[in-house]
């Protein structure tokens, strides 16, 4: 079952998008803590798109939530901005001195740490970013859910 929201790629739409993913995750039975992880990943991805995807003109972004068996939520974020493969972004440098520490570059690092899997595809003029999250509470670490073919 997929639910989709479409909006102008603008920061003033961020709260609406976060509310959407929050309610999808709540309906999928995700724990409060894992919903915050999801919101963080989606906020960081949305901010990237709003800031950098459309430089010449405004554009749209589409966010879809898909619930998969085994307590898995797949979020697909699509824009028609310039190509950007988040997987190829460089890791930030963690300077220990406040004066030398860079102000930016943490968003993608946070996404990587919040989700179980990230996929990216350029499809024609579209960027498709796929974030996969598993609700930790539904899967104890000792009995991992089998993933892949076999259904």
């Amino acid at each position: 079952m997929a639910e989709t929201v479409r909006s102008v790629a603008n920061i003033d739409q961020l709260e609406r998008i976060l509310e959407f993913v929050r309610s999808c995750a709540a309906r999928a039975g995700f724990s409060g803590r894992r919903i915050i992880d999801l919101e963080l990943a989606v906020e960081e991805a949305m901010v990237n798109i709003c800031r950098y995807a459309y430089t010449e003109h405004s554009g749209e972004v589409e966010v879809a939530c898909l619930q998969e068996p085994g307590g898995i939520l797949r979020i697909e974020i699509v824009d028609r901005g310039r190509p950007f493969n988040l997987l190829k972004a460089e890791k930030p440098v963690f300077e220990c001195d406040i004066a030398r520490r860079q102000l930016g570059g943490l968003g993608i690092h946070i996404i990587r740490n919040m989700v179980d899997d990230i996929r990216y595809r350029r499809e024609g003029d579209k960027n498709r970013l796929i974030l996969v999250l598993r609700d930790r509470k539904q899967n104890s670490p000792s009995t991992p859910e089998p993933v892949g073919p076999g259904r």
Partner: protein, 110 residues
């Protein structure tokens, strides 16, 4: 966000969320207080449930400003997802972090 002054130290308590939408308000308010001459801060994150990279950036940017003025910004009360974001971003390595406002106050120079 509410603030309180104890001796020379300004205590700032944050509540709820510090993300893309709310971080600029926090940063502006901190700038105002710095312009009014405040240089010693304890920012208590005990009531914060959510922080994104924008929130981290606003705290770091304020700390950079204070460093130029020989000021100090201590943090207290990190918990749950906020603590986790501080850890993965290695912000725990660049800030002095205390369990409570009281402990942070005691570590401030007199």
């Amino acid at each position: 966000m509410d603030t309180e002054k104890i001796g020379d130290v300004r205590i700032v308590r944050l509540q709820g969320r510090l993300g893309e939408v709310s971080a600029p308000q926090f940063e502006d308010r901190m700038k105002e207080m710095i312009e009014e001459g405040e240089v010693l801060f304890v920012v208590d994150l005990g009531g914060l449930e959510y922080i994104s990279s924008a929130g981290l950036r606003s705290i770091l940017s304020t700390a950079k400003e204070l460093k130029k003025l020989d000021g100090l910004l201590f943090l207290s009360g990190l918990r749950g997802p906020v603590k986790e974001v501080f850890e993965i971003s290695h912000f725990v390595d660049i800030f002095r972090i205390f369990g409570s406002v009281q402990e942070a106050l005691e570590a401030m120079p007199r």
